[in-house]
Protein backbone atom coordinates (compact mmCIF):
# COMPACT_ATOMS: atom_id res chain seq x y z
CA UNK A 1 0.00 0.00 0.00
CA UNK A 2 1.30 3.42 -0.93
CA UNK A 3 1.83 5.84 1.94
CA UNK A 4 1.33 9.52 1.06
CA UNK A 5 4.70 11.21 0.84
CA UNK A 6 4.68 14.82 2.15
CA UNK A 7 7.56 15.69 -0.18
CA UNK A 8 5.68 14.47 -3.26
CA UNK A 9 2.65 16.49 -2.21
CA UNK A 10 4.81 19.54 -1.61
CA UNK A 11 6.53 19.20 -4.99
CA UNK A 12 3.15 18.98 -6.71
CA UNK A 13 2.10 22.25 -5.08
CA UNK A 14 5.44 23.88 -5.90
CA UNK A 15 5.26 22.70 -9.52
CA UNK A 16 1.91 24.43 -9.89
CA UNK A 17 3.01 27.62 -8.12
CA UNK A 18 6.16 28.13 -10.21
CA UNK A 19 4.77 26.91 -13.53
CA UNK A 20 5.06 30.32 -15.18
CA UNK A 21 8.32 31.28 -13.49
CA UNK A 22 11.74 31.26 -15.09
CA UNK A 23 13.60 27.98 -14.53
CA UNK A 24 10.41 26.32 -13.29
CA UNK A 25 11.60 22.78 -13.95
CA UNK A 26 14.99 23.50 -12.35
CA UNK A 27 13.30 24.89 -9.24
CA UNK A 28 11.30 21.71 -8.77
CA UNK A 29 14.35 19.49 -9.42
CA UNK A 30 16.47 21.46 -6.97
CA UNK A 31 13.68 21.40 -4.39
CA UNK A 32 13.34 17.63 -4.62
CA UNK A 33 17.08 17.04 -4.31
CA UNK A 34 17.29 19.45 -1.38
CA UNK A 35 14.30 18.03 0.47
CA UNK A 36 15.43 14.41 0.02
CA UNK A 37 18.91 15.33 1.28
CA UNK A 38 17.59 17.12 4.36
CA UNK A 39 15.09 14.33 5.00
CA UNK A 40 17.91 11.78 4.90
CA UNK A 41 19.97 13.91 7.30
CA UNK A 42 17.10 13.85 9.81
CA UNK A 43 16.54 10.13 9.32
CA UNK A 44 20.23 9.51 9.98
CA UNK A 45 19.82 11.53 13.18
CA UNK A 46 17.05 9.19 14.34
CA UNK A 47 13.86 10.95 13.22
CA UNK A 48 11.17 8.92 11.45
CA UNK A 49 10.81 9.44 7.65
CA UNK A 50 7.51 11.33 7.72
CA UNK A 51 8.59 13.72 10.48
CA UNK A 52 11.89 14.18 8.64
CA UNK A 53 10.05 15.14 5.49
CA UNK A 54 7.77 17.56 7.34
CA UNK A 55 10.75 19.21 9.03
CA UNK A 56 12.61 19.51 5.71
CA UNK A 57 9.56 21.11 4.08
CA UNK A 58 9.10 23.58 6.96
CA UNK A 59 12.69 24.77 6.55
CA UNK A 60 12.39 24.97 2.79
CA UNK A 61 9.52 27.45 2.86
CA UNK A 62 6.06 27.92 1.38
CA UNK A 63 5.73 27.34 -2.39
CA UNK A 64 4.14 30.77 -2.78
CA UNK A 65 7.21 32.42 -1.20
CA UNK A 66 9.55 30.54 -3.52
CA UNK A 67 7.40 31.51 -6.51
CA UNK A 68 7.47 35.13 -5.34
CA UNK A 69 11.28 35.02 -5.19
CA UNK A 70 11.49 33.73 -8.77
CA UNK A 71 11.25 36.03 -11.78
CA UNK A 72 8.42 35.46 -14.23
CA UNK A 73 9.31 33.60 -17.41
CA UNK A 74 8.29 36.60 -19.52
CA UNK A 75 9.64 36.49 -23.04
CA UNK A 76 11.57 33.34 -22.23
CA UNK A 77 8.34 31.36 -22.08
CA UNK A 78 7.90 31.74 -25.83
CA UNK A 79 11.50 30.74 -26.37
CA UNK A 80 11.08 27.67 -24.18
CA UNK A 81 7.96 26.63 -26.07
CA UNK A 82 9.78 27.07 -29.36
CA UNK A 83 12.72 25.01 -28.09
CA UNK A 84 10.39 22.27 -26.88
CA UNK A 85 8.74 22.10 -30.30
CA UNK A 86 11.90 22.14 -32.39
CA UNK A 87 12.79 18.46 -32.00
CA UNK A 88 9.25 17.48 -32.99
CA UNK A 89 9.47 19.68 -36.06
CA UNK A 90 12.81 18.14 -36.99
CA UNK A 91 11.56 14.56 -36.67
CA UNK A 92 8.34 15.55 -38.41
CA UNK A 93 10.19 16.83 -41.45
CA UNK A 94 12.32 13.69 -41.53
CA UNK A 95 9.04 11.77 -41.42
CA UNK A 96 7.76 13.76 -44.37
CA UNK A 97 10.90 12.95 -46.31
CA UNK A 98 10.70 9.23 -45.52
CA UNK A 99 6.99 9.15 -46.34
CA UNK A 100 7.61 10.97 -49.62
CA UNK A 101 10.35 8.48 -50.53
CA UNK A 102 8.04 5.58 -49.71
CA UNK A 103 5.26 7.18 -51.74
CA UNK A 104 7.55 7.47 -54.73
CA UNK A 105 8.76 3.88 -54.45
CA UNK A 106 5.30 2.41 -53.84
CA UNK A 107 3.73 4.44 -56.63
CA UNK A 108 6.41 3.42 -59.10
CA UNK A 109 6.38 -0.27 -58.15
CA UNK A 110 2.76 -0.99 -57.28
CA UNK A 111 0.85 1.93 -58.68
CA UNK A 112 -1.16 4.58 -56.87
CA UNK A 113 -3.80 2.12 -55.62
CA UNK A 114 -1.79 1.33 -52.50
CA UNK A 115 -2.73 4.55 -50.78
CA UNK A 116 -4.32 2.67 -47.86
CA UNK A 117 -1.06 0.83 -47.14
CA UNK A 118 0.87 4.05 -47.44
CA UNK A 119 -1.53 5.78 -45.07
CA UNK A 120 -0.98 3.03 -42.51
CA UNK A 121 2.78 3.43 -42.78
CA UNK A 122 2.47 7.18 -42.35
CA UNK A 123 0.17 6.73 -39.37
CA UNK A 124 2.76 4.49 -37.73
CA UNK A 125 5.51 6.99 -38.53
CA UNK A 126 3.47 9.76 -36.95
CA UNK A 127 2.95 7.79 -33.75
CA UNK A 128 6.58 6.70 -33.53
CA UNK A 129 7.78 10.24 -34.12
CA UNK A 130 5.52 11.72 -31.48
CA UNK A 131 6.37 8.98 -29.01
CA UNK A 132 10.11 9.51 -29.47
CA UNK A 133 9.83 13.25 -29.06
CA UNK A 134 7.54 13.03 -26.07
CA UNK A 135 9.88 10.56 -24.36
CA UNK A 136 12.88 12.80 -25.02
CA UNK A 137 11.01 15.94 -24.02
CA UNK A 138 10.07 14.45 -20.66
CA UNK A 139 13.70 13.59 -19.99
CA UNK A 140 15.18 16.96 -20.82
CA UNK A 141 12.44 18.92 -19.06
CA UNK A 142 11.81 21.94 -21.22
CA UNK A 143 10.98 24.09 -18.21
CA UNK A 144 7.49 24.80 -19.50
CA UNK A 145 4.76 23.80 -17.10
CA UNK A 146 1.23 24.59 -18.20
CA UNK A 147 -0.41 21.59 -16.61
CA UNK A 148 -4.03 21.88 -15.58
CA UNK A 149 -4.56 21.87 -11.81
CA UNK A 150 -6.41 18.79 -10.65
CA UNK A 151 -5.32 16.69 -13.61
CA UNK A 152 -2.12 14.72 -13.28
CA UNK A 153 0.61 15.78 -15.70
CA UNK A 154 0.87 12.18 -16.89
CA UNK A 155 -2.75 12.14 -18.05
CA UNK A 156 -2.39 15.53 -19.73
CA UNK A 157 0.87 14.55 -21.41
CA UNK A 158 -0.47 11.23 -22.64
CA UNK A 159 -3.69 12.77 -23.96
CA UNK A 160 -1.77 15.54 -25.69
CA UNK A 161 0.65 13.07 -27.24
CA UNK A 162 -2.21 10.96 -28.61
CA UNK A 163 -4.04 14.02 -29.96
CA UNK A 164 -0.81 15.32 -31.45
CA UNK A 165 -0.14 11.99 -33.10
CA UNK A 166 -3.66 11.90 -34.51
CA UNK A 167 -3.39 15.46 -35.76
CA UNK A 168 0.01 14.85 -37.26
CA UNK A 169 -1.06 11.58 -38.86
CA UNK A 170 -4.18 13.18 -40.32
CA UNK A 171 -2.06 15.85 -41.96
CA UNK A 172 0.45 13.29 -43.22
CA UNK A 173 -2.28 11.17 -44.79
CA UNK A 174 -4.31 14.06 -46.11
CA UNK A 175 -1.34 15.84 -47.62
CA UNK A 176 0.04 12.65 -49.18
CA UNK A 177 -3.31 11.67 -50.68
CA UNK A 178 -3.49 15.11 -52.22
CA UNK A 179 0.11 14.74 -53.41
CA UNK A 180 -0.57 11.39 -55.09
CA UNK A 181 -3.73 12.70 -56.81
CA UNK A 182 -2.25 16.01 -57.82
CA UNK A 183 -0.89 15.78 -61.34
CA UNK A 184 0.52 19.28 -61.20
CA UNK A 185 2.66 18.75 -58.08
CA UNK A 186 2.45 22.38 -57.08
CA UNK A 187 3.77 23.63 -53.76
CA UNK A 188 0.38 23.67 -52.00
CA UNK A 189 0.81 20.17 -50.60
CA UNK A 190 4.21 20.90 -49.17
CA UNK A 191 2.78 23.93 -47.42
CA UNK A 192 -0.11 21.86 -46.07
CA UNK A 193 2.34 19.36 -44.59
CA UNK A 194 4.49 22.07 -43.10
CA UNK A 195 1.44 23.79 -41.62
CA UNK A 196 0.21 20.54 -40.12
CA UNK A 197 3.56 19.79 -38.56
CA UNK A 198 3.84 23.29 -37.16
CA UNK A 199 0.36 23.02 -35.62
CA UNK A 200 1.16 19.64 -34.11
CA UNK A 201 4.48 20.94 -32.85
CA UNK A 202 2.92 23.89 -31.07
CA UNK A 203 0.23 21.66 -29.61
CA UNK A 204 2.62 19.11 -28.16
CA UNK A 205 4.91 21.87 -26.90
CA UNK A 206 2.34 23.70 -24.81
CA UNK A 207 -0.19 21.05 -23.84
CA UNK A 208 1.66 18.32 -21.97
CA UNK A 209 3.09 20.57 -19.30
CA UNK A 210 5.49 19.24 -16.72
CA UNK A 211 7.21 15.94 -16.58
CA UNK A 212 4.99 13.29 -15.05
CA UNK A 213 5.14 13.21 -11.31
CA UNK A 214 6.04 9.79 -10.01
CA UNK A 215 4.60 9.00 -6.63
CA UNK A 216 7.15 7.24 -4.46
CA UNK A 217 6.74 4.74 -1.76
CA UNK A 218 7.46 6.46 1.54
CA UNK A 219 10.35 4.87 3.40
CA UNK A 220 9.23 2.24 5.81
CA UNK A 221 8.85 3.15 9.42
CA UNK A 222 7.07 6.46 8.91
Amino acid sequence: MTTPDPIDDYLGDLRHRVRLRRNAARLVEDAEEHLRSVQQTHIDAGLDPTSSAVEAIARFGEPRDIAAASPRAGGRLGLQIARAGMPFLAVGFVGVGVAGLMATVIASVAGADRIAALAAIQLALGFVGVSLIEARRRRIASGVDLSTPGITPTVVATTAAILSAALSAAWFVGATVLLLHDQHHDSTNAWLMALGLAAASIWIAIAPGARPSVRREAPAGG
Binding site: E33, D65, I66
Partner: protein, 108 residues
Protein backbone atom coordinates in the same frame (compact mmCIF):
# COMPACT_ATOMS: atom_id res chain seq x y z
CA UNK B 1 15.89 35.03 11.37
CA UNK B 2 16.59 37.32 8.44
CA UNK B 3 14.45 36.72 5.36
CA UNK B 4 15.85 36.62 1.84
CA UNK B 5 13.72 39.70 1.14
CA UNK B 6 15.62 41.58 3.85
CA UNK B 7 18.86 40.44 2.27
CA UNK B 8 17.88 41.60 -1.19
CA UNK B 9 20.91 43.26 -2.69
CA UNK B 10 23.37 41.38 -0.49
CA UNK B 11 22.27 37.80 -1.00
CA UNK B 12 23.88 37.47 -4.43
CA UNK B 13 27.32 38.62 -3.32
CA UNK B 14 27.18 36.44 -0.20
CA UNK B 15 26.33 33.43 -2.36
CA UNK B 16 29.25 34.27 -4.63
CA UNK B 17 31.54 34.46 -1.60
CA UNK B 18 30.38 31.08 -0.28
CA UNK B 19 30.74 29.40 -3.67
CA UNK B 20 34.17 31.03 -4.15
CA UNK B 21 35.50 28.99 -1.24
CA UNK B 22 34.88 25.79 -3.19
CA UNK B 23 32.27 24.20 -5.41
CA UNK B 24 29.22 23.17 -3.45
CA UNK B 25 25.71 21.85 -3.94
CA UNK B 26 22.64 23.87 -2.95
CA UNK B 27 22.08 22.53 0.55
CA UNK B 28 25.79 22.92 1.43
CA UNK B 29 25.74 26.52 0.18
CA UNK B 30 22.76 27.31 2.39
CA UNK B 31 24.32 25.66 5.44
CA UNK B 32 27.57 27.53 4.89
CA UNK B 33 25.68 30.81 4.62
CA UNK B 34 23.93 30.08 7.90
CA UNK B 35 27.14 29.00 9.66
CA UNK B 36 29.17 31.99 8.47
CA UNK B 37 26.46 34.37 9.72
CA UNK B 38 26.17 32.50 13.04
CA UNK B 39 22.58 31.67 12.18
CA UNK B 40 21.62 35.28 11.52
CA UNK B 41 20.97 34.65 7.83
CA UNK B 42 18.80 31.58 8.27
CA UNK B 43 16.25 32.43 5.59
CA UNK B 44 13.80 29.90 4.18
CA UNK B 45 16.07 27.54 2.29
CA UNK B 46 13.94 27.30 -0.84
CA UNK B 47 14.27 31.02 -1.57
CA UNK B 48 18.02 30.64 -2.16
CA UNK B 49 17.55 28.57 -5.33
CA UNK B 50 15.98 31.39 -7.40
CA UNK B 51 19.03 33.49 -6.45
CA UNK B 52 21.39 30.71 -7.58
CA UNK B 53 19.51 30.46 -10.87
CA UNK B 54 19.74 34.23 -11.28
CA UNK B 55 23.52 34.10 -10.80
CA UNK B 56 23.77 31.27 -13.30
CA UNK B 57 21.63 33.14 -15.84
CA UNK B 58 24.00 36.10 -15.40
CA UNK B 59 27.00 33.86 -16.09
CA UNK B 60 28.50 34.39 -12.63
CA UNK B 61 28.21 30.76 -11.56
CA UNK B 62 27.88 27.51 -13.47
CA UNK B 63 26.51 24.18 -12.41
CA UNK B 64 26.72 20.53 -13.31
CA UNK B 65 24.91 17.41 -12.18
CA UNK B 66 26.70 14.76 -10.15
CA UNK B 67 25.24 11.40 -9.19
CA UNK B 68 25.05 10.95 -5.42
CA UNK B 69 23.29 7.99 -3.77
CA UNK B 70 21.22 7.33 -6.85
CA UNK B 71 20.12 10.96 -7.19
CA UNK B 72 21.39 13.77 -9.36
CA UNK B 73 22.88 16.56 -7.27
CA UNK B 74 23.61 19.97 -8.83
CA UNK B 75 27.00 21.38 -7.90
CA UNK B 76 27.76 25.08 -8.32
CA UNK B 77 31.09 26.76 -8.97
CA UNK B 78 32.20 30.29 -9.76
CA UNK B 79 32.99 31.40 -13.31
CA UNK B 80 35.68 33.91 -14.29
CA UNK B 81 33.16 36.76 -14.50
CA UNK B 82 31.79 35.58 -11.15
CA UNK B 83 35.20 35.93 -9.50
CA UNK B 84 35.66 39.38 -11.01
CA UNK B 85 32.19 40.41 -9.84
CA UNK B 86 32.94 39.17 -6.32
CA UNK B 87 36.15 41.21 -6.14
CA UNK B 88 34.32 44.29 -7.36
CA UNK B 89 31.40 43.87 -4.99
CA UNK B 90 33.68 43.18 -2.03
CA UNK B 91 35.53 46.45 -2.68
CA UNK B 92 32.24 48.33 -3.01
CA UNK B 93 30.99 46.80 0.24
CA UNK B 94 34.21 47.69 2.07
CA UNK B 95 33.85 51.31 0.93
CA UNK B 96 30.20 51.41 1.95
CA UNK B 97 30.79 49.76 5.33
CA UNK B 98 33.72 52.06 6.07
CA UNK B 99 31.59 55.09 5.28
CA UNK B 100 28.72 53.94 7.48
CA UNK B 101 31.14 53.08 10.30
CA UNK B 102 32.72 56.50 10.01
CA UNK B 103 29.34 58.22 10.20
CA UNK B 104 28.21 56.11 13.13
CA UNK B 105 31.52 56.77 14.88
CA UNK B 106 31.12 60.49 14.50
CA UNK B 107 27.60 60.41 15.85
CA UNK B 108 28.56 58.87 19.22
Amino acid sequence: MTSSRDLKGQLDVMLLAVIASGERYGYAIIRSLQQRSNGRFAMKEGTVYPALHRLEDAGLVMSRLEPVDGRQRRVYELTGPGRASLVEQRAAWDDYAASVTAVLGLST
